[in-house]
Symmetry: D2
Subunit: 385 residues, 4 copies
């Protein structure tokens, strides 16, 4: 199998997300890192690209140069990952999609709902993939939860309870720390801080696992640190299109919690609980029986989980492998197209532009709700109503 | 030290709460079980009382007979526990208070806010204790959380997150099971089911630990089982009088959870987490340091915790000993009065009539809020506004 | 049902074991605390007894006085608990057994194997119970493990792995602390320290749960603190009479462990794991299936477990209730004899003199083994070979 | 930085260890997979190599062909990983070392102590690295334990307790399953099964973390399944050169345990506990204080841990990243030599030939001990006595 050429925009020297993408894309040997515009400083970006082994003529100074350069090549990259500042995602993604590239965009996909709707349409018109990196859904046992729900193991889903609550922004002494401050400044972060940054992962996971979209929501936002403008703690109640009741708590002031992404799903005939900090176990209780511990890698779980595991049962797998499953999905999709075959449905679970759009719409709806004392809002984007 | 004479109304043969009270009251040898009207069937009650060792003339047929009989005795019981159906609490408690008895009332203290306010006034006028059995606050480490907050270990409290979510009413086949059905029937259970039954314990604990009362709240109720009238799942957001943000989730359809009473408290300089199912450990993270495991019984925790522990560190203590601490507190209060001394403040933490009243008010406020799409309501009883 | 009169020797003011016994004996209302010789100081013991509510003429100055006094009464105590220094157990227990009293003796039952064999014979000849307080076997889920093994849930038992390892004697600064020092001084503690004090609980539990006695053993003792004579850490390998392989680790220098009593039992068709610090859950894996969490109180576990539980599932029970089950068992045995009926086999699981004897023999065998580089020794007392 | 050329012998199509090495070697972009002799079937191996992207002339039919081919190239591989059947390790490793290649050998390094001593000498004479893949020591928090011990955080180490106990060979129905049977057949597996396969990882980790070698040992082996020749359960007591007491339990019949590699280290002033199944937390108790949870990635732990972490705190890392740290260490060592600089001591913690030798010697000593009723044996290889 030939590797797919892959390129990256952003993720320069010193960034955390850059190495994460390069590890994830390279892990299974499906992608070859072939081009990049890695830094807003053109020279720094070119030098860093070359230090990572990129050819000199594919280590670009900015995304426009990369777009032009790659579009002109026969061996052009097939997938472009966009890990630039949030406000630039829309423009870059649109340009690459229109030029026939597939795109994996860091979240949030765009700033506004209108932009997101435009990207959904652009991708459809171009016949290209516009994926969004909700990487936590790459965990094998998250995918197994989805498979269990889909095949009816817990019956109709009544209730989903999601959390993403940590304590890393709780220190009042960090109010002026630039690494923290911008996140709560509307001028830099937009309309929402903690819900947009973390909570939305949990909301997307609730949809991913239940197979239902969020229909309406009511939000209560709080800024627990004096002087902080945007929310550092939020509770969002929601209802899903299939009638499921949703609860979502997110916080960045929960001292003592390191990460806190957790999903509980309760159906008519069973309950499930999974936590990102202990991702290799899934707790399952069939109605009237006992709590069981499902282990990642135990085998014969579901096609989705089995093919998302790489090491034997009892050995821990972590975030980088979850993330690699997103790339593995994209490779499957691209290769299937190239080979004119139907892709394996268990290997094409990456979040797409519609998911990115729904998230942007939910963030905006939550902000409006919070500004109106928790008034229930339609969480769906106009084009999906 | 002479034992205090104690009596009980309700808690007849086959009830669960009866033995729990008798174990708790007797555990430390502070109370002597001396009188009872244990069953709504007078003969059954008398026979059961005698089988438990009550004297024939103090094994009464009903509470009125007991009130008359005990009031006439020199060695009358000093404390009466009321564990009858909820709707009867008010009348019985009022009568005994007015006759000069101290009272420990099962929760909910009354059905209406007006009744609860009347009991608060009645107890004050009579100079008698009207305690309410929020027994979970008797756990040594819950009391230690309270002490830590009070002495400033986590700074000003910003956020409290409470849960009481189990899965014992999730089976649709139990819709007609009489042991479950009445709980969701307004005619029998009143205005609220799961929030009034379980959630309110968590809300009281939030106040107990933070030392702040709930000021306003917004509730989202759901009935997850088709045909169920009252809520089996609820999310309540609240604000406390000191400005603390509150989140409270309660459920009876969370399959896989056995009990689920959990409290997380986050302050300016630390966070705390405690769970009823693992009550002998308290998880504490001082800001910028590491998560620590505080063990019940480790010694020198706080006067409140140290005197509430009975076995050495590393040995489990459970609910019956927590419950016994409520009785221990009542004995300290009554004995101090008898001995004309100041009671030990670390041993007088039992919930009183004001707490019972606040709970009733909060339940009613939550119901109104839930009926009005989560409109924020004043959670305080009129007499405390 | 009439309460049984009960008395206690030792457990004076300030002791920890005294209140533990009084709580346990009184918890279910089966015993009435009627007599005591509570302190080696006669006056102090009498005064303390009266302060606990004993009648003046039954608050004795020493055990001989109590033996004479009680033997002369029609309402004499039926059961005597012995919680005096270890070296005195034998003499006191023998005297009371011969005078027709039932006895519950703190562990170790005696100092020597010969004494223990004599007590076994004495009890048999007197037709009286001589129980030994391995109180941890009173936990409901320990009893359920035993029941599961007995009914074949895990098939023939292949392997049992027991631990009782804590870190409370790890501080070198405590070498001269009287509360620690005596434990490692042969003149005061006898031939063994940590194994005799803690490890033997784990070994007894291994026998209790598997229904097999220890046949042979090999021990490796270590004194981890310089200057400490007796062992503070020990590993004992053993073989049981049914062929089961045994491993037992005990330590008092394992800093970070609070108690550490844990039992794992592995059979042909399943495995079990239980830990005293989380006593309300039992982890069970049927061969080829998944780990299950068995909850104390879930109902229909086994007669042994169901009748040893007092509070509903999801609520913690702790050590005092386990301990109370030992007394409950003794009451059942004594009452059945009084009522000329067969006792309930699910309620008569208390450890007896034979268990006490086997433990003494195993301690002595382990000491000999450890002194001979782990030579395998017969662990059985001569009378059971 | 130029990538290092790397090759592999063994790890063919369908093997588990092959992908694990390829992921680990490639993860950080330090090695380029350039050559291989991947299968004992020459054609299958060549075809599989090409399918993985190897050049046709570097996809060899067997290791001798690869040795000849690579030795003749200017761009020859610098490191060769050997993942062939155990009995072939010695011959292959020796040949490659003598030809000037660096080697990473799967464990066990050799079959006999004499072979292992020869490899130690061969590597030294050739001036080449002969690493052995005890991959679990690559976990960031295992390395942090080592660093904590080395810098004195827990004082002199008194006691180390290691476990590697799982239940995957407990099913009697698997006696004839070829995937299990060979492991317990002396003709195929050698002198030891479970201790050599799993236990030795735990023993190496004990040395790695404490910085002390095992001096003497006493073993108790058991074959819990009827008809099984080699041990499936073993307890090994040992003493380390610095005086530390060691306990090691390993089992493959512990139903309910998935992996079970756990290390507890107890020193004069603190205790540590780590488990492979929850590898991102390290439990630390400083003497007289409280149990603390050290999180992988919390920052400023130690140079060894900090540079072994790739994702931010709160995100799980698993076995593949631990394994990648072994390759990262090798790259650092090779690059430092190439660049004529001192390698970073925090990045050169891979196990070497001496470690492989010590393990073989310990296995043989344990077998002799077990055959002689646990007689204490010198665990050191002759050349290190």
């Amino acid at each position: 199998m030939t590797k797919l050429n892959w390129g990256m925009i952003g993720g320069g020297n010193g960034s955390q997300i850059g190495p994460a993408h390069r590890i994830a894309a390279g892990l299974d040997g499906l992608f070859s890192f072939a081009a990049g515009a890695l830094d807003h400083d053109a020279d720094a970006g070119r030098a860093f690209g070359r230090s990572l082994g990129l050819a000199a003529d594919r280590s670009y100074g900015d995304w426009r140069e990369m777009l032009a350069g790659e579009a002109a090549r026969a061996d052009r990259v097939e997938l472009v990952t966009i890990a630039t500042p949030n406000a630039t995602h829309y423009e870059i993604a649109k340009a690459f999609l229109q030029a026939g590239f597939h795109v994996l965009c860091e979240k949030p996909m765009t700033v506004t709902v209108a932009q997101a709707e435009d990207l959904v349409r652009t991708a459809a018109q171009a016949g290209r993939v516009c994926a969004v990196n909700y990487g936590y859904t790459g965990y094998a046992l998250v995918r197994h939860m989805r498979a269990m729900v889909a095949r009816g193991d817990i019956g109709r889903v009544r209730l989903v309870v999601a959390e993403f609550a940590h304590g890393h922004h709780a220190n009042a002494a960090d109010m002026d720390n630039p690494r923290v401050r911008w996140r709560y400044d509307p001028a830099q972060a937009g309309v929402s801080a903690q819900f947009a940054d973390c909570g939305i992962h949990a909301m997307h996971m609730a949809s991913f696992v239940t197979g239902q979209e969020v229909a309406t929501l009511s939000a209560d936002f709080a800024s627990c640190l004096a002087g902080r403008v945007l929310e550092d703690d939020a509770m969002v109640n929601f209802r899903m299109e299939g009638g499921t009741v949703g609860r979502l708590w997110t916080s960045s002031v929960a001292i003592g919690r390191q990460h806190g992404l957790t999903l509980q799903v309760f159906g008519e005939t069973g309950g499930l609980r999974w936590s990102q900090e202990q991702p290799n176990q899934l707790f399952y209780m069939p109605l009237g029986q006992r709590l069981q511990v499902i282990e990642r890698g135990e085998g014969n779980l579901s096609p989705e989980a089995d093919c998302a595991s790489r090491v034997t049962v009892g050995h821990a797998e972590g975030m980088p492998l979850a993330f690699a499953n997103i790339y593995r999905d994209l490779a499957e999709t691209l290769n299937a197209a190239r080979e004119a075959r139907k892709p394996d449905p268990a290997k094409t679970l990456f979040p797409g532009a519609a998911d990115g759009l729904r998230s942007i719409a939910a963030i905006h709806a939550a902000v409006v709700s919070a500004q109106n004392a928790g008034r229930w809002e339609d969480a769906r984007p106009p084009m999906f109503r």
